[in-house]
């Protein structure tokens, strides 16, 4: 098993897909010769020639050509450099890709994968800091995944590319150069969906995804030192989302559910997770939602830090929550 950081794991997944599936294409701004502004697509252009190419700064054309190529049987993997940039071209995913299979009764399909990365990093401006996954989870027809580790980045990228539906993969750029991990590459393609129990404990179920996973786990460790053990369920796949797994866990943790994401709270996908648990009748008492404050994200790290949950804040809130 190779030792890979997150960027390396995505690269390995892309390489595998390009090798195994001749119908894949990989393109986007600066992904080919430069190897990606975060180095994720390094060397793929060298090895796969004109199936990997750089594009103009034309997100509607990037996504729209991917839709068209997918309709004709290709399996494009395209990059939107920052999730914020989706907003210049969302039509191509929501009005176009999401409709194709449904409206044509499956006569046409749009098996495309869109890679992007999102979230705040130190001094990133308000236009480069949003977490937009909830906009996509409200759109029937689109699959959504937000990985957090090299292994699940690898797995979900391979599953996304093999999926016959349009899938949006949201990385978080602060994870790319994180710790290396033994990554199981190769092996059977996993079905899309599902999550991982990252730790177990009876005090509460904490559901999280993406970069927040690491902060939640750190907070849970600290909480454990204080004698309170919580279950942490990491759910990278938001569509399909494994609500049943959450409900089973919530039932096993006294009906207590917390959800943590980096997106701002109001309208975030955390609300959906909570309501489904409520509808399933497994909740007891009030749930806890942790996310960014409902503001824009300022550039100064001290300001952004006051708005985006860090380990300290998560710990404090979980402590209060589990002791309530």
């Amino acid at each position: 098993m190779p030792e890979l950081n997150y960027a390396g794991a995505v690269n390995a997944a892309l390489r595998r897909c390009l090798e195994e599936l001749p119908e894949t294409l990989l393109y986007g701004e600066d992904v080919a010769k430069p190897g990606g502004v975060h180095g994720v697509t390094r060397r793929l252009w060298k090895d796969f020639g004109d199936r990997v190419f750089d594009t103009p700064i034309s997100e509607s054309a990037i996504l729209g050509t991917a839709v068209g190529a997918a309709m004709m049987g290709r399996r494009p993997i395209v990059e939107i450099m920052w999730a914020d940039f989706f907003l210049v071209a969302l039509d191509q995913l929501v009005n176009q890709a999401a409709n194709i299979r449904y409206v044509s009764q499956g006569r046409l399909t749009a098996p495309l994968t869109v890679r992007t990365q999102q979230g705040n990093s130190p001094a990133a401006c308000a236009q480069h800091s949003q977490n937009l996954e909830a906009m996509f989870t409200h759109v029937p027809g689109l699959r959504v995944v937000v990985p957090s580790t090299p292994q699940n980045a690898y797995d979900s990228m391979v599953s996304a590319v093999y999926s016959d539906d349009p899938v949006v993969v949201f990385d978080n750029r602060t994870l790319y150069l994180g710790e290396k991990q033994q990554v199981e590459t190769g092996g059977a393609v996993k079905p899309i969906g599902g999550g991982t129990v990252r730790r177990t404990g009876a005090a509460a179920t904490v559901v999280t995804w993406g970069a927040m996973t690491h902060r939640v786990l750190a907070a849970a460790d600290r909480l454990a030192e204080e004698g309170t053990e919580v279950t942490v369920l990491e759910t990278p796949w938001l569509n399909p989302f494994d609500h049943e797994a959450v409900h089973r866990s919530v039932a096993a943790t006294g009906g207590r559910l917390a959800v943590v994401h980096e997106a701002n709270v109001t309208g975030g996908f955390g609300g959906e997770v909570v309501v489904r648990a409520l509808e399933a009748g497994v909740l007891s008492g009030r749930p806890l939602r942790i996310g960014a404050a409902d503001t824009r994200i300022p550039a100064a790290p001290r300001l952004a830090g006051a708005l985006i949950p860090d380990t300290e804040q998560i710990l404090t809130e979980l402590r209060k929550f589990t002791r309530a």
Partner: protein
């Protein structure tokens, strides 16, 4: 009757017009609902252009796409059925008048987002470069779509990579209820293509033979690796933007002039001179269309219990 030549063209144009006129009837009768965009007056473009394409080529149209589907060979009964919400429709009633597809016939769909389908055609051309099919793609859109950002993006993308795609702009001088001349400073829309390095020409879009030969020439060039081309068809719609638009924004004089320029009147006059019984051509088209409509009306409605199917693989 052969596939090409003036008489075949007249029949093909009549088939489209009769289809559209039947829709007017069906709308009036309450069988057809919603916003329906007819291409009456614009039949020469689809007839000329589609006969210049090969089977494996991919066509992408707009909400004003009935004529393009018909010219591509989509059978009339499932087309009517689609618009009438029948289970037998080309998309089982999911698409409707403005957003159906019939991939079996190389018709990769209408699109009801202005400009939305143009990048799809470029993507289909990109696919063709990799799948060994020799496919070219064609995007059809209106004059007004030229001002929608996705269109220049898609055109530049195709130009930069020399992709085999034809951009066909049907300039009927209006975008919904607004004249294109008020929305641009330079009315020569082909300049925009040229500026991107795309070969471009503006032709009489009411002449099916001219449309065919022009499209065929560019299609050959595209197949030979010379990249995209842009063809502007000057044309006119003789009816409103949608059924119900009473066209207060057009003068009687303009409508009369359009009536003289429109392709069927012109083809009829020309063929009559050479002794063809053009009324018989019209009758043949109307019969075919009438039978298809009647059959579709008798088809079963889409079944609501299937409404949730086909969302995901």
């Amino acid at each position: 009757m052969t596939r090409e030549g003036p008489e075949a063209d007249l029949l093909a144009m009549w088939r489209i017009r009769a289809f559209e006129e039947k829709l007017q009837e069906l709308h009036k009768a309450g069988d057809l609902l919603g916003s329906v965009h007819l291409c009456i007056g614009q039949e020469a473009g689809p007839v000329g252009a589609c006969t210049a394409l090969s089977e494996q080529d991919a066509l992408f149209a707009t909400y004003r796409g009935h004529g393009w589907a018909i010219a591509r060979g989509v059978p009339l009964r499932p087309l009517f059925a689609e618009l009438l919400g029948r289970a037998t429709g080309v998309n089982g009633g999911r698409g409707g008048s403005a957003y159906f597809s019939a991939a079996d016939h190389g018709f990769y769909g209408e699109n009801s987002i202005v400009g939305g389908g143009v990048p799809h055609a470029v993507g289909a051309a990109l696919a063709g470069r990799h799948d060994g099919s020799g496919r070219i793609a064609m995007a059809v859109f209106g004059d007004g779509a030229m001002n929608q950002g996705a269109v220049p993006e898609a055109m530049n993308f195709a130009a930069a990579f020399g992709l085999p795609v034809l951009f066909l702009c049907e300039n009927n001088r209006y975008s919904e209820l607004t004249p294109i001349r008020d929305m641009v400073r330079n009315e020569a829309l082909t300049d925009r293509a040229t500026a991107l390095g795309i070969s471009a020409t503006r032709i009489d879009g009411n002449d099916p033979e001219l449309v065919r030969s022009t499209v065929a020439r560019y299609a050959d060039a595209a197949r030979d690796g010379h990249g995209p081309a842009f063809v502007e068809l000057t044309t006119q719609r003789l009816v409103g933007h949608y059924i119900g638009d009473v066209q207060q924004y057009r003068t009687r004089a303009e409508l009369e002039e359009d009536g003289r320029a429109e392709p069927i009147a012109r083809a009829r006059a020309a063929l009559a001179e050479s002794g063809v019984d053009t009324d018989a051509v019209e009758r043949a088209a109307r019969e075919e269309v009438g039978a298809a409509a009647a059959a579709a009306l008798a088809d079963p409605p889409a079944d609501p219990t299937t409404a949730k199917e086909h969302l995901y693989a």
